[in-house]
Each structure stands twice: as C-alpha cells, then as structure tokens.
C-alpha cells in the first residue's frame, strides 16, 4: 500500500512540466544527470532497461567464449581468453552497480533475466563450435559493441557514462585481440583459414543485426535521442561498422557472405545486401540456436550457487551477532 502511494506521488511529480523543462535544459546543456537528481520516470525506466540489458548481455556473453577456455590452443591464448571472459564479468558487475543507482537491486534484475522478462543481446544465442569463433567474437561482436558503446561514454546519465568509459577501453583491447586471432588463422594452414572463413560466414549477419532494427522500424529512437541516451541512429552506426570492418576482412583474404556487398565510390561507403530481419526477430523471440541453453546455464549456476550465497549471509549474521554480544558483555 505504502509503495503504491509512493508510486502515485512520484507519477504526479513526474508529470510536472516545470521539472521536465528544467531537466531537458540540463540535458541539452550536456550536464550529467546524477542519481539524486530529479528525472522523468520514463528516463529512469529506459535507463534501467538499457543498462540491465547490457549487464545481462555481458553475463550471458561469458558463456559462448567460456566454451573454449579449457580448449584454447596455447597457454598464452588460454590466459588471454580467460582474462577476457573475466573482464566481461567485471563489466556486468559495474553495469549492475550503475543500474542500482536508479533504485533497482541486482537480485531483482537477475530475476528478470532468469524468468525471461529481461532481454540480453541476441548475438549470444549463436553457438561457438570452433576456435575461430573466439577471434570472430572479438573482432566482429566486440567491434560492433564498441561502435554502439563509444557514444554511450557521453550518455546524459553520469554513472552509466562513467562505466562505459572503462568498458570501452577494455572492449577495444578485446577487439584487437580477436582480430589478431583471426589474422593468425587466416595466415595459417589451409584448415585454419577454412576455420576462419566458416566462422566469418556464420557471424557476419548476426553482427550486423546487433545494431538493431533499421531506423524506420526502431521504436525508442526519438525520445532517447532527445534525452541523449542515444546519439546516433542504428543505421548510421551499422554503416560505420561495415566501413571499418570490410577492409580489415579483405586485408586477411577473407570473403564476406554477402553477394551484394560493394563499395560506392560516390558516397565512400560499403553497401550491403538486405538483412534478414525475420531471423533477427526469431532469435529475439527465443527461437535462436542457443536461447534455451544459455538461460538454462545461467539458471543452473544461480541454483547451484544458492547454498553458497545463503552460507555467506548466515555466517555474516552470526559474526555480527557475536560481535554485538561481545560488545554487550564488555559493557
């Protein structure tokens, strides 16, 4: 009851045109919005959704690459891959913390992931059957993520922007590391080169889909642009990614699985063929190759960890009680 009353009060407050105007003026002036500042309810909700989706993506994203940690082909690669997947867990941790500044708990957000209420990036619903996928995820998936994330370093919400600065630095290192794996394979034996090409064939289109639906079909864009949560359109970012990536692939002697891919001399851009949005929608709906597997793996880790979390809590409570008892005894 009390919470409900609070929500109603907040809602009335949220519609206050004067507060909204003042908020928008601060955003327009490129001031950072901080946790204790007034913000429209829609802004808060949008950020919670976006930051938590991003956090979930980092955590679920540990699984496809984690698949190769025990099988990495050299000790150097093993250490680098383990460190990379660990970085992703670290990104998840600061993103959950950034989301918590908006008044939601990590437990609540993780609960939304496990029940399927919250989404994560669909790219992680694709499998990693080959070692080349470790290179391709770094080069293409992290590469696409960076294109999306660099503008977020200037996001109007301070805690998110600051988390993204650190994340982008690490992601760009991961991208170079991934490209180096692909390069080693592309310059290796015919079997290794085939491994790299096969992996590119599988990841190219899903990587392009990471930028989200085409601008004409994107639901959230206009308001998010005005709030400076988003600064570039999906299609613009996708184009930027293609222009940067295609020459890197050609340099390695790899072929992109798009017969319509061609360079337009007049515009200076690479033009791509039609993206199969029906595939994107299918995977978002849950009908991708690994959706069920990924969520089940998260659920399993969560369930198997329950007794550990309970023990840590019980022990902390016992210690606190003993400390309190000792204090009373001393007095």
């Amino acid at each position: 009851m009390y919470a409900q009353a609070l929500n109603v009060a907040e809602k009335a407050h949220a519609d206050d045109p004067e507060l909204r105007a003042r908020f928008q003026a601060r955003v327009d002036a490129e001031e950072k919005i901080e946790p204790n500042d007034w913000m429209p309810e829609g802004y808060r909700r949008t950020l919670v959704r976006q930051i938590s989706q991003h956090a979930h993506s980092e955590i679920v994203g540990m699984l496809p690459e984690g698949n190769w940690i025990t099988r990495a082909p050299s000790l150097k690669r093993k250490a680098a891959l383990l460190a990379k997947v660990q970085d992703e867990g670290g990104h998840g941790l600061y993103l959950y913390s950034a989301a918590e500044t908006l008044g939601v708990s990590r437990e609540e957000l993780v609960g939304q992931l496990l029940t399927g209420k919250a989404k994560y990036s669909s790219i992680f619903n694709y499998p990693t059957p080959s070692w080349a996928d470790m290179g391709m995820i770094g080069w293409l998936v992290d590469g696409a993520a960076i294109m999306n994330q660099i503008p977020l370093c200037r996001c109007s919400y301070g805690p998110y922007a600051r988390a993204m600065i650190r994340i982008c630095k690490e992601e760009s290192f991961h991208q170079r590391q991934g490209y180096e794996i692909v390069m080693t394979l592309a310059k290796g034996s015919p079997a290794q080169k085939k491994m790299a090409q096969d992996s590119l064939n599988r990841w190219w289109w899903p990587a392009l889909m990471m930028f989200g639906p085409s601008d004409k079909d994107s639901q959230h864009s206009d308001q998010n642009m005005a709030w400076k949560i988003k600064r570039f359109s999906n299609d613009d970012l996708r184009q930027k990614f293609i222009d940067a990536t295609v020459p890197q692939g050609h340099f390695l002697g790899l072929t992109f699985p798009d017969p319509d891919l061609r360079f337009n001399e007049a515009t200076g851009h690479w033009e791509h063929g039609p993206i199969d949005w029906s595939e994107f929608n299918r995977v978002v709906r849950g009908e991708g190759p690994c959706n069920r597997e990924r969520l089940k793996a998260r659920q399993k880790a969560h369930d198997e960890g329950a007794w550990v979390r309970e023990a840590a809590l019980a022990h902390a409570e016992k210690r606190a009680a003993r400390k309190a008892a000792a204090k009373i005894a001393a007095e």
């Binding site: 955590i59 540990m62 699984l63 984690g66 940690i69 025990t70 099988r71 990495a72 082909p73 050299s74 000790l75 150097k76 690669r77 093993k78 250490a79 383990l82 460190a83 997947v85 660990q86 867990g89 670290g90 998840g92 941790l93 959950y96 070692w131 080693t184 290796g188 034996s189 079997a191 290794q192 793996a297 399993k300 880790a301 198997e304 960890g305 329950a306 007794w307 550990v308 979390r309 309970e310 023990a311 840590a312 019980a314 022990h315 016992k318």
Partner: protein, 250 residues
C-alpha cells in the same frame, strides 16, 4: 633421461597448470559474480606460474621444447602433478577447500623457494608467493564461511574434506630426485613446510568448526606419472586443437 632439476620444475609447473585449468572450468558458472571473478583471478595466477615454470623447464632440458610443447604434447604418464589438483572440480565447497589445502602448502613453500640457488626458480617463487598469499586468504575466508554458515554448507564442506584429505599426503613426499636438489639448496624440503601448514590448517579448521581428519593412508603416484582416470579427460580438452592440427601456429 630426465634430469632431477627438469623433473622438479615440471612437477611445480604441472601442479599449477592442472589446478589453474580446474579453476578455469568455473568461469561463467560461479555461485555469484564476485566469486566468478575471484576464481578466474586465481586460475590466471596459476596459469601464469605454469607458463614461467614450463619455459624454465624447457631451458633446463635444452631440447628446444617450449611451454606449449610441454603442456600440449605430453600424455598422462609424463605428467608430474600431484593427484590432488587433477580431481574434478566438484561443487564450490570442494573447489575452495582444495584451493585452501594447496595454498596453505604452496604459500610457505614459495617463501622458501624464493631463496633457491636456482635464480630462475627463486624469481618465479618470489612473484608467486604474493599470489599464493591472496589464494590462501581468499580460500580460508570461504572455508570459514562455509563451515560456520548453514547446515548444508557445513555438510558439503565436511564431505569435501573427506574426499580431499587422502590426497594431501603427496604434497609432502620426497624422492631421490628431490633429495639431491634439497641438499644442493635448489629445492625446498617439504618437511620444513609441515609446521606452517599444520598451524594454518588447525587455525582455519578451528574457525570453520571442522574436525581435522587423522593422517591415515594417503593416495600417491601423480609425481611419478601414475594418475587417476580424470587427468586423461582434462588433457583431452586441453590438448584438443594441438592434437587435431599438428604443427599449426595459433
């Protein structure tokens, strides 16, 4: 014919790699995010120690074998790790208790090895001792939390201890290979580690309300290349690409 110093260095390296590999199996599956990161940290430390030790072993041998040749191209009988580290990862109680038993030994061990007459081993030990101090602190805190946590955590920890205790004796074994190196001031005498190990175990088990098992019959063999059924499966994963694509560069 392996020289004693090569075998000794390989034993240290194999312990570190096999345990690092087991810890790395947790990545993405930890009981909480913070612990997922901590287990990966410890795995990275151990893999790093193994890399330095393999490189040194290769140099001692002088046949041009690299760290990867040693890690990826040996079959079970040529592995020299103790059996403790090759046990499958088990549940979190098993993993963290094994880490504690290992770190409680290796921390004082590296402290002494840092004074080895072999300068490379001494340098590797000086770096590793800082890492093992963290592993020891972190794992001991968890042993206490689990032992003095809930009924379930205490029961799981006790079960893990019963599984693991018979594998602790091998850490203290000394054979002819090591005896000569100990006398030459190169290797560490594990008998000298015993008092520190006992004190750590007794202190932490006391806080964890965990009864120390009697030192009865102990498992042995890993250091001589006589392994359990589990190492072969670990190597199947570890060596898959190197074995499937011989001679490739990665």
């Amino acid at each position: 014919m392996e020289t004693p110093l090569f075998t000794y260095t390989l034993r240290l390296a194999d312990n570190a790699l096999v345990l690092g590999h087991r810890l790395s199996e947790w990545c993405g599956h930890g009981p909480m995010l913070e612990e997922d990161l901590a287990l990966a940290n410890m795995a990275l430390d151990l893999i790093g120690q193994a890399r330095n030790l393999y490189t040194h072993a290769g140099a001692i041998e002088g046949k041009g074998r690299s760290e990867d040749d040693l890690a990826y191209l040996r079959d079970c009988p040529d592995w020299r790790n103790i059996l403790l580290v090759e046990r499958p990862r088990g549940d979190f109680a098993f993993t963290i208790l094994r880490q504690f038993l290992y770190a409680a030994f290796m921390h004082p061990y590296f402290e002494r090895l840092a004074a080895s007459k072999d300068e490379t081993l001494a340098a590797i030990a000086a770096k590793s001792v800082k890492e093992m101090a963290y592993h020891l602190r972190h794992s001991a805190e968890w042993v206490i939390r689990l032992g003095d946590g809930t009924g379930e955590s205490a029961a799981r920890l006790k079960e893990a201890l019963e599984d693991l205790w018979p594998f602790t004796g091998e850490m203290f074994e000394v054979d002819a290979v090591e005896r000569a190196l100990i006398e030459a001031g190169i290797a560490v005498d594990p008998a000298a580690i015993r008092p520190a190990w006992d004190a750590t175990i007794d202190h932490v088990f006391g806080e964890a309300l965990l009864a120390r098992p009697r030192d009865g019959w102990m498992q042995t063999g890993g250091r001589r290349g006589e392994h359990s059924e589990h190492l072969g499966h670990l190597l199947t994963d570890l060596q898959f690409l190197q074995r499937t694509y011989p001679g490739a560069t990665w």
